[in-house]
């Protein structure tokens, strides 16, 4: 009779096999003294290993665990108010304020650019020569009435100009030059006011 593998016998001895395999081993052991001896040795080993006793926990073990858990809980409670949770909320609020401020600044700065560029393109430009008479440009209110004595720089005018100034304005493509050009300084003295 061929003996079973040692692994199979040990698995049987320590209940590591299923019931079908266990029944096959039992049948073999009934007829094989060598395999039976191995299984019996492991049975004795199993009993021998039981002699290694582990010590009980010390009486204050439970107290220590409870204390550690309570300490952990109180640390967590404290942290949730004074620590990370609180700081996280503050950080989020600060971030929100920064975002709103950023959006507001961006919106306002771009609105200013738009206004100034519109005013710049609508200013009367008399580039044909320094002696061009200013009488050609007239400031008018939306209802068509003129504003005598209103300074051009102070008015937010809706300009109505003659064809000659429009041609000059089209010739002036450089926006910066138009914005910085001091038109009034080139007018003859006494004619800085827009004629009625």
């Amino acid at each position: 009779m061929k003996c079973l593998e040692t692994e199979t016998l040990i698995s049987y001895a320590y209940h590591l096999t299923d019931e079908l395999a266990a029944s096959q081993v039992r049948a073999h052991l009934a007829e094989c003294p060598r395999c039976r001896e191995i299984v019996e040795q492991h049975g004795r080993l199993d009993a021998l290993l039981d002699e290694w006793k582990a010590a009980e926990p010390t009486p204050w073990f439970d107290v220590r665990v409870r204390h550690a858990v309570e300490e952990q809980q109180s640390r967590r409670d404290a942290r949730s108010f004074w620590g990370w949770d609180w700081a996280r909320g503050l950080a989020l609020a600060s971030l929100g304020v920064l975002i709103i401020a950023g959006v507001a600044w961006f919106t306002l700065s771009h609105t200013g650019d738009y206004t100034s560029s519109r005013v710049a393109t609508q200013q009367p430009h008399s580039m044909s020569g320094p002696q061009t008479p200013p009488q050609t440009a007239k400031l008018q209110s939306p209802n068509g009435t003129a504003h005598p004595g209103v300074e051009p720089a102070q008015a937010v005018p809706e300009l109505k100009s003659t064809g000659a100034e429009d041609k000059d304005a089209l010739a002036l493509e450089d926006y910066d030059l138009a914005a910085n050009f001091d038109l009034l300084s080139e007018l003859p003295k006494g004619q800085a006011r827009v004629a009625n």
Binding site: T6, E7, I10, H42, A47, A55, T58, V65, V69
Partner: protein, 193 residues
């Protein structure tokens, strides 16, 4: 009154029930301290590690998911702590001992230099020989044997604890028990007389 399962208790702990945690503490204090005592030998360290397991269970109660058996989760935490402690102590010993590593059982070198009277009386007896034989096993075999033999953990659960296959656990146990049978043969013969 029906005995609550570990799972039921842990789910209640997750909801903040301190009484359920107390039941788990009472249920597993002895198994865990015994497990660590056999793994690291030192009683003080064993209790420190067992305390750490309970603390980790409590800390992670809100994230607990009942996917595996509670004991599988518990012993996985415990085993990781035990193996880390053994490695830390091994590093300390090898640092302090220099090159005098003799290749013998690792935990044999952790013997308290000032043994108590009780410990002296224990020297030379059967229990010490058994302990030395188990401690001399390779780390993974020793862990598997202690879990299987002393903690009575099923080999399928051991596979989950050690993150290896069931057949690998059977192989570990087979080799470990056969090694122990050979090493402890004098005691086995003695026992027959």
């Amino acid at each position: 009154m029906a005995i609550e399962t570990d799972l039921e208790l842990m789910l209640r702990v997750r909801e903040g029930d301190a009484a359920s945690f107390e039941i788990l503490l009472r249920r597993y204090r002895l198994p865990l301290v015994s497990y660590f005592r056999r793994m690291v030998r030192d009683q003080g360290l064993a209790e420190d590690l067992a305390q750490e397991v309970f603390l980790r269970v409590y800390k992670s109660r809100e994230r607990y998911q009942p996917e595996a058996r509670f004991t599988t989760w518990l012993y996985r935490i415990a085993t990781n702590l035990a193996l880390n402690a053994i490695r830390d102590r091994r590093d300390e010993v090898s640092d302090s001992a220099g090159d005098d590593a003799d290749g013998g059982p690792v935990l044999e070198r952790f013997v308290d230099p000032h043994p108590t009277v009780e410990q002296r009386l224990m020297q030379g007896d059967r229990e010490r020989l058994i302990r030395q034989a188990v401690e001399a096993l390779p780390e993974n075999q020793r862990t598997a044997v202690i879990l299987h033999k002393y903690q009575e953990v099923d080999y399928r659960q051991i596979a989950g604890i050690l993150s290896v296959s069931e057949s690998a656990v059977k192989s570990l146990l087979f080799r470990a028990y056969e090694t122990l049978r050979v090493r402890l043969e004098p005691l086995l013969r003695e026992g027959r007389i």
